[in-house]
Chain length 223, copies 2
Amino acid sequence: MSLAETINRPTLHQELVDRIRNLVIEDKLKPGEKVPEKDLCEAFGVSRTPLREALKVLASEGFVILQANRGARVTHVTRQELADTFPVIARLEQLAGELACVQLSDVDIAQIEDRHRAMLAAYSANDRPAYFQANQNIHQALIQGAQNKILEDHHKLLAARIQRARFMVNLSNDRWAAAISEHETMMTHLRARDAAQLGLTMKAHIENKFAAFMQGIDAQSDG
Amino acid sequence: MSLAETINRPTLHQELVDRIRNLVIEDKLKPGEKVPEKDLCEAFGVSRTPLREALKVLASEGFVILQANRGARVTHVTRQELADTFPVIARLEQLAGELACVQLSDVDIAQIEDRHRAMLAAYSANDRPAYFQANQNIHQALIQGAQNKILEDHHKLLAARIQRARFMVNLSNDRWAAAISEHETMMTHLRARDAAQLGLTMKAHIENKFAAFMQGIDAQSDG
DNA sequence: AAATGTAATTATGAATTCATAATTAAGTCA
DNA sequence: TGACTTAATTATGAATTCATAATTACATTT
């Protein structure tokens, strides 16, 4: 352990990137919506310079789209984008699972067991918010457990983009039960440190989530 | 064919992002080097505003690192970053191979055959620049053939970062021969439209490239 | 001469200003 | 009334300006 953490006082634009990205993820800024610089400047109490810097970064991350002389718009989460994103996330999680099996300490795995139990408790209590949180904790722990910064960064970005669609569909009871079952299998492989199997299970888990997701969207547009 | 290309007058910052990124990839801007805004402004004949916007984007892409009040430095391509990046690229190419097998038309495949033959010719002629170009063309065609924008974007970014290390090592004759052989296998699977096998071969191809790469680095630091 | 403290210089973060492209509003004519 | 012009307004891209942090140059002390 080093003597001190490096001092990290974020600049305005860094802060703005995070804050505006959160507004998009939390659906406070709606897809397709124009994002007038003036309004955001007033909302955040900053000038246009750092705000525009932030918008450039958010555009490169895919949360807004910039049109020359016509400002920024929040991007839509299209069906196609979801269809493209899920397979990529699935492969990233597969890799993460394989690496985590090798990299995680027994203590780390025990902590994930705790989170897994918390997730089961949320399921039993039919507490969806708690379930989503616990579920996210577990996936995040496995991703971080892979100890691969590139993998983590790219996964984080894609996960944030997917997360924007969470308002579109709600988890069916069947899919919820299946997800719980898949997580049980994941834990079994993690305990056994079976890298290949954990990877395959995580990949399938995301692919199944995707299938349910698309069904949900279809059902929504039908109804 | 449409009557005209859409007018694409990129904003200064977009142009700058591409230009400066290329400077970094082409090693014109060296790792660790400070990038004084003033110098770049003069070099490109623009003011600091669009230049700084570009630096923010390049920082989010990992080509420079920004320290508050201390400007931008070109990032180093560390051993660890390479070790993290290759496995991710390998999985992305695996996915691309699987998708391309399904998505590509017979005509597309015939074009890739052409590029493959060009690559073989370059190998026979011992023409390394031509080989690298042909090789890159093939991989790019397969990635684009997957018709997955997310996959393509993320692959492009990672490939650019890897490319920065190409100056560090040179291809051994053994590895070159092996790479040619792996490409032959890839073409066999592509012709047969065997998605799973093409994916696995492409994944292994990148992993082997990585292993040779690391050996090359080791040899370099030994010598 | 080396180390420390201080002033001058430079570079950066952010606000402001300016020029121009888009958009909106108003006006004109059929 | 409704389509088409044209003027006014607004928003954006980029340059400039300003305040301050960081660096450098210099002086002082031992």
